[in-house]
């Protein structure tokens, strides 16, 4: 058979009995066709243990046959910091590899396994030097792939995505979850194809329309709304019922793959992941189930697939944490380092005092509630990942020192844990300079071999001789994101700039997550001491920034981990630039000016007006744009009516040039509030805009109190709607203390205006209280009892025991 060359993108790749299946997507000039090819992919895993045990394992596996080959190997084990002897088991393909791992784990569960749960797609990409959605040159012999090469790397800025043919399937009308009972005709749409609208009442015609559209258009991507939790399964069910074929896959040898729904705890709250439907040879993306895809769209998903070496369907359904973990695994695999399986690294021993010192998060300076003028906000750029790269913070470098740095490490021992390293008050002064300060590196500087950095506060030494797996993974990621941001800034407003923005936002989420994964007990390259070191360096960096700002005469208002808000009367742009240059130079971490606020409000706690609240603020920059965090208009659980009203009010307030004008413009805000409340009283606000979105934390039947969310969840359950913890319920508050699920709203239902007025008042408090207007004054103003301006409104800031010293 003669070989032929083919230039195409790698659309999808997955394991099959014959090896790795690749779907290649040709360019438009070559007809845009998709081709299925197969390549070989032998895969290995490793077992460590005493020699006698490994010999017994060798004998055992030798008897299995299955084309497995065995050998001795010596590889680098990052947690031990050295190479170790291993038994290597190599399978002829990805499926025999999985079977052999499963059986070996069952037979010898007490031995240490490595490279035992690798993703075949990642292994293929690393072995062949390619990545998902890369444009490559293939040499083919029939349907067998003989070679593949590409001039692209996953770090390229200019890399066009494949020319996807995209078909959309969704229910017509407003975007509503059909698994809650909502039904509307099915809409089938694609560019250049006449849109089809089909009714569910005629399943045969419906199935035929979907089948014909797929056959006619042959899409690469099936973009759905609730395709995972409802649409595709429902279509397949209808097809079965009427005895019709509905091949959703391009790969006709495979059926669709279903993964069940699940609920789990993450960051102290319960999260629900819907069931998912995976296709082969065609990519199914459910926009309602795609992780964070609202923020970065398909461009961001393509960027993530390329960067993390995960196929597009996978990256659309997994968290950023999985992405960063996949990148670390790929980096270790590429270097021939062992990838731990079921990590066996317990936390090192620490004294109680060590724990008190180290077990802390980012530094939070609580703001004094009130309204401020001419406030400068500074943000460190990707602070934690930058610190991890700069100081080489990684599971295998923190608290571990190598032969080169042994002599200079204060508590380190070669290749072994050096904890507890508890600097006593004798060897560590309570104030600066910390040992860290002596090792502090300027911008662009790196650690010096043989000279371990010492972490501030906690005193862990960090080996600088070999770059750790975490910095190795993060460094190119940081560089690419910065380059994308710069490229976006250089573009004029338009679609190209938006694509660059989405790509950098997708990478931002990887960087945000990488810190959490460093301390996650199940993360294979995580270790709590590296996590603690990152926050300790972060606190030291933020404190240094505070000191520099105060030395230059700025008043410190608020700081949150990697951002600070400061004020200096009459400070100029040149002053601000000089300040960020000095902080960047001194800390070695780039810091950017987020902006200068004309006015900035820190609302007080709702429980007690003197109490501050971190990360709850809103303000108008000098160009009039509004930034807000933590207030109603920004929160996902705020009803649309309140959110929109607060948005309009902030537009009014954004015109204020200073705090005095802010207070003056509150009169307009109250006038608008009276109009909105009058609409509510007259019943003119649509239930859609009053629907409250609430995540349920228990199965509906386990709620004991008659909370509105429980009432709504129980009513849905009575109508046959299955809800799992972590799923959200939308309901409207009704008169008499009731709540009706929005999907079951009836014309005869009446909205509880009193409870909605309360929600509205709380929103209004966020805007008015920082300007010195308390709740009683707000209510009086709305009821028209008193006229604006109100007495006492000039007192800014509010609360506090006594006025503080300047």
């Amino acid at each position: 058979m003669t070989a032929r060359t083919f230039r195409a993108w790698i659309l999808d790749l997955y394991p099959a009995p014959e090896g790795m299946v690749l779907w290649l997507k040709a360019g438009v000039e070559a007809g845009g066709r998709a081709l299925r090819v197969v390549d070989d992919l032998p895969m290995s895993f490793f077992i460590a243990g005493e020699s006698a045990r490994l010999r017994a394992v060798w004998r055992g596996i030798s008897g299995w046959g299955r084309g497995l080959s065995l050998g001795k190997a010596r590889r680098f084990e990052i947690h031990r910091g050295r190479e170790i002897d291993l038994l290597a088991v190599t399978a002829p393909g990805p499926l025999p590899y999985r079977a052999a791992v499963r059986d070996a784990l069952a037979a010898w569960p007490d031995l240490a396994f490595y490279d035992a749960d690798l993703d075949p797609a990642m292994v293929y990409c690393v072995e062949r030097g390619v990545f998902p959605l890369a444009e490559c040159d293939f040499v083919l012999e029939g349907t067998r792939l003989r070679s593949v090469s590409t001039g692209q790397t996953r770090w390229d800025l200019a890399a066009d995505p494949p020319p996807f043919r995209m078909l959309t399937l969704r229910l017509t009308g407003e975007l509503r979850d059909p698994s809650r009972g909502y039904r509307a005709p099915l809409e089938i749409a694609a560019p250049g194809l006449a849109t089809r609208v089909c009714d569910w009442a005629d399943p045969r015609a419906l199935v035929a329309a979907v089948r014909d559209s797929l056959a006619e258009y042959d899409p690469d991507v099936l973009l759905t709304a609730w395709g995972d939790s409802f649409l595709l399964d429902e279509l397949l069910r209808r097809a079965r019922e009427c005895g019709a074929e509905l091949p959703l896959n391009r790969d006709t040898r495979r059926g669709v793959l279903r993964k069940p729904e699940r609920s789990y705890f993450s960051y102290g709250r319960i999260v629900h992941r819907a069931a998912s439907v995976w296709l082969f040879g065609r990519l199914h993306i459910d926009r309602q189930n795609a992780f964070l895809a609202d923020e970065y769209g398909l461009d961001g998903l393509v960027e993530l697939a390329r960067t993390t070496l995960q196929p597009l369907q996978q990256v659309a359904r997994t968290s950023s944490g999985t992405g960063i973990s996949a990148m670390q695994t790929a980096e270790a695999y590429r270097r021939g380092w062992l990838v731990p399986f079921r990590k066996r690294e317990p936390e090192d021993f620490k004294s109680a005092l060590d724990l008190v010192r180290g077990d802390k998060g980012g530094l939070i300076f609580q703001p004094e509630p009130g309204l401020y003028e001419h406030v400068l906000e500074l943000d460190f750029a990707s602070m934690y990942p930058s610190l991890m790269v700069k100081y080489n913070l990684s599971a295998e470098t923190v608290g571990r020192t190598c032969p080169k740095c042994k002599s200079s490490a204060p508590g380190g021992a070669e290749g072994s844990p050096s904890f507890p390293h508890s600097p006593s008050s004798d060897d560590r002064p309570p104030s600066s300079p910390f040992p860290f300060s002596q090792h502090k590196l300027g911008e662009g500087e790196r650690g010096v071999e043989g000279s371990p950095a010492i972490i501030p506060e906690i005193g862990y030494p960090v080996c600088q001789c070999r770059q750790g797996i975490v910095p190795l993974t993060l460094e190119p990621l940081l560089e690419k994101r910065l380059a994308l941001k710069r490229a976006a800034r250089a573009q004029p407003e338009g679609p190209e700039r938006e694509v660059l923005r989405r790509r950098q936002v997708a990478l931002k989420w990887l960087l945000v997550t990488c810190f959490g994964y460093l301390g996650y007990k199940n993360a294979r390259f995580g270790r709590i001491e590296a996590h603690e070191s990152t926050t300790a360096c972060g606190r030291d960096t933020l404190l240094r920034a505070k000191e520099i700002a105060e030395e230059r005469g700025y008043r410190f208002l608020h700081a949150l981990t990697d951002a600070l808000w400061i004020h200096k009367q009459g400070s100029t742009d040149a002053d601000h630039r000089a300040l960020v240059e000095e902080i960047g130079r001194e800390t070695g971490i780039r810091i950017d000016i987020e902006g200068v606020y004309r006015w900035l409000a820190f609302p007080p706690s709702r429980q007690y007006a003197a109490n501050p609240v971190a990360n709850r603020y809103f303000g108008a920059f000098e160009d009039g744009t509004v930034k807000m965090r933590g207030i109603e208009a920004r929160r996902h659980d705020t009803i649309r009516w309140v959110r929109e009203a607060q948005g309009e009010m902030l537009e009014i307030l954004a015109r204020a040039e200073n705090a005095a004008q802010y207070r003056a413009r509150l009169a307009e805000v109250f006038a608008l509030a009276r109009e909105k409340l009058a609409e509510l009283r007259r019943g003119e606000v649509a239930p859609r805009r009053l629907a409250i979105l609430h995540r349920i934390s228990h199965p509906p039947e386990e709620y004991k109190a008659n909370l509105p969310v429980a009432l709504a969840a129980r009513e849905l359950a009575a109508h046959g709607v299955h809800l799992s913890p972590g799923e959200s319920v939308e309901f409207v508050l009704t008169r008499g203390g009731g709540a009706r699920p929005y999907d079951l709203w009836r014309e005869t239902d009446r909205v509880d205006a009193a409870r909605y007025r309360e929600l509205f008042l709380r929103m209004l408090e966020s805007l008015a209280v920082p300007a010195g207007c308390d709740r009683a004054a707000i209510v009086a103003e709305l009821d028209g009892i008193r006229q604006y301006p109100l007495p006492g409104m000039a007192r800014v800031p509010v609360g506090g025991l006594l006025p503080a010293a300047a």
Binding site: Y267, A352, L353, L355, V356, R357, D359, K360, G361, L363, I364, F365, Q366, E368, E457, G516, G519, Y520, K521, I528, H531, E532, R539, L543, A559, Y608, A610, N611, P612, G799, G800, L801, L802, P803, A804, A805, A806
Partner: protein, 94 residues
Amino acid sequence: MGRTLVSITQQLAQAEQRLGRYRRALTRADQKIFDDLFALARRRLAASSMAADPLPMQVILLGMLIGTASAVAGLAARVEALEHDRPHLPRLDS
């Protein structure tokens, strides 16, 4: 993620809660002072966190003291300014 100990923010909230009965037995006017003192400590939580003191109440009390001293210093500055504008007023230190 990785936290074993309760944070200083939670420790302050717990300390305030533990003193609930104490607060109840204060007069209403003193209850306001009690709440204000805890608000002063709250505003200095970053420093309390950095202290990493095994007895957090020590640094919570220090935060209250610093806040109070700051308020006194603010008042003293205002008094001084008033005295400067009105030299006939009897002086505080006389």
